[in-house]
């Protein structure tokens, strides 16, 4: 029982990070109608920024919680500017371009961001500290890892804020209206360029947060996000690109299944089994678990 719980909790921990990154992908897809293949690389870059800031600040002021939090916040500020610039420079000019064209742009971004990271930060691997450094302890047979609970808790809060924003506020309605019909949204007075800009900023912050939180497990290096990024995409597809709750469920499902299959069935075959199963789900529900097939009335 303890090992089952252990696996589920660890699955939720990584799954919630996939979910965060997936939410960013879906947000951008809906507002800009482009799948941002560079989401992972952008998160990696923000991760490097967090690491560098943390290193510098620790050297100057000592390795304390305060310097970590400052580095974290600094990296999120960087992500804000980063998302703004990427949208403005790379995506906005191609707004009316073809879908394939825009996708190629984001593929090109992978090269640019990855290349810049290598040039600026080097290709070495660095160890990043955990958010919560309190050591693990046992309650009964259950190993409690404070950092895991912190990650789950933090992502829950972020998702709650995001859902509130999207479902309840005027800005959220504007995001969904822009996603559905950009021209009509403009006719209602929605500044869709600003909406798109903010969506990219939020998505970049979500990605950066996932990157910084996963860094202690993956270490900081130029390919650190490859796995997370791929899984966040699968989470988005599995949950459905047309919903916001879908990618969250998708991310958690992948995280938990990965662990359970690996532990109980076969560690060697777990990737094959998990993703084979996901493909089965998509055969039954091609639009994803929560995806809707849009019908149009004339």
């Amino acid at each position: 029982m303890a090992s089952f719980l252990q696996n589920v909790i660890a699955g939720i921990e990584t799954g919630s990070l996939y979910a965060l990154a997936a939410l960013g992908v879906v947000l951008i897809y809906r507002v800009s109608a482009v799948t941002n293949f560079a989401q992972g690389e952008m998160a990696m870059f923000s991760g490097f920024v967090a690491y560098s800031l943390w290193q510098r600040l620790s050297l100057a002021f000592g390795n304390t919680h305060v310097t970590y939090i400052m580095a974290f916040i600094g990296a999120l500020l960087f992500a804000t500017i980063f998302g703004f610039i990427v949208e403005k420079v790379f995506i906005r000019p191609a707004l009316r371009g073809s879908l394939v064209g825009k996708m190629i742009i984001t593929l090109g971004l992978i090269m640019i961001v990855n290349g810049s990271a290598g040039a600026l930060f080097g290709t070495d691997t660095h160890a990043m500290r955990r958010a919560i450094t309190t050591p693990s302890f046992f309650i009964g047979g259950l190993l409690i890892r404070p950092n895991a609970y912190f990650i789950i808790f933090l992502t829950l809060i972020i998702m709650f804020i995001l859902f509130y924003l999207i479902r309840k506020t005027m800005f959220g309605v504007a995001i969904r209206a822009t996603a559905e019909n950009e021209t009509t949204a403009r006719l209602m007075g929605v500044p869709t360029a600003k909406v798109s800009s903010v969506a990219w900023i939020i998505a970049t912050i979500l990605g950066a947060t996932a990157g910084i939180l996963i860094a202690p497990a993956t270490n900081v290096h130029t390919n650190m996000m490859a796995d997370v990024h791929l899984k966040s995409f699968i989470a988005a597809v599995l949950g459905g690109f047309t919903s916001f709750i879908g990618p969250v469920i998708g991310g958690l499902l992948i995280g938990v299944m990965d662990n359970l299959v690996g532990f109980y069935i076969s560690a060697k075959w777990r990737t094959v089994i998990v993703y084979g199963f996901l493909i089965l789900i998509l055969i039954v529900k091609p639009a994803g678990l929560f995806g809707k097939v849009r019908r149009k009335k004339v």
Binding site: M170, A174, R176, A177, G189, T242, R294, R295, K297
Partner: protein
Amino acid sequence: MLKIENVNAYYGYIQALKNVSLEVPKGKIVALLGANGAGKTTTLKAISGLIGVQEGDIKLEGKSIKNDAVEKIVAKGIIQSPEGRQVFADLTVEENLKIGAYTRKDRHNINQSYDQVYGYFPRLKERKKQEAGTLSGGEQQMLAIGRALMANPKLLLLDEPSLGLAPLIVKDIFSIVKDINSQGTTILLVEQNAMQALAISHYGYILETGKVVHQGEAKDLIKDEKVKQAYLGGH
């Protein structure tokens, strides 16, 4: 209230509007009529800022709004209910109305606007939690008009509100459009259904291949033999 002066507009190399001038006086309904492709929707797009105006001017209450940003024009009080209704299918009825009020600064008066819209269209109130995509065509048209009213517009642009609707529903919609006008909203009504549009309008313009070819008081246009033959199906 709205004055369009010698406007020329182009789609690429094709001139869609040729020297179009028209005027919408405060408190009136003005009908803009013509066949498919005559430039009616293009005129509305030019007013709303969706397409650029190369020559001529568009003025709201004496001030040029030519080539302003779309959202700025909405904020100044001109809102369009576009052709084909274009309601946000994934949003609820209430959210569709909410987005109509996006540029409103007087947030505390917005509840009044909901009441006003639900007063015109009680059906929308019954369905306010429903996704707009599940509404019938007539209800979607009501929603499209209601959504535009949420902006509390000075000038309401209606693009073919009768398109694809059953005659009885068209009658309802037109009578509500008339009500909205008598409550003080100025309306520019684009229609192919010329007879019914003129019946509720004060003044009419007829467009043909991007040019104003005829204009006059609505009651005169209805009687005019030439107009009847060409546009009102009076043969």
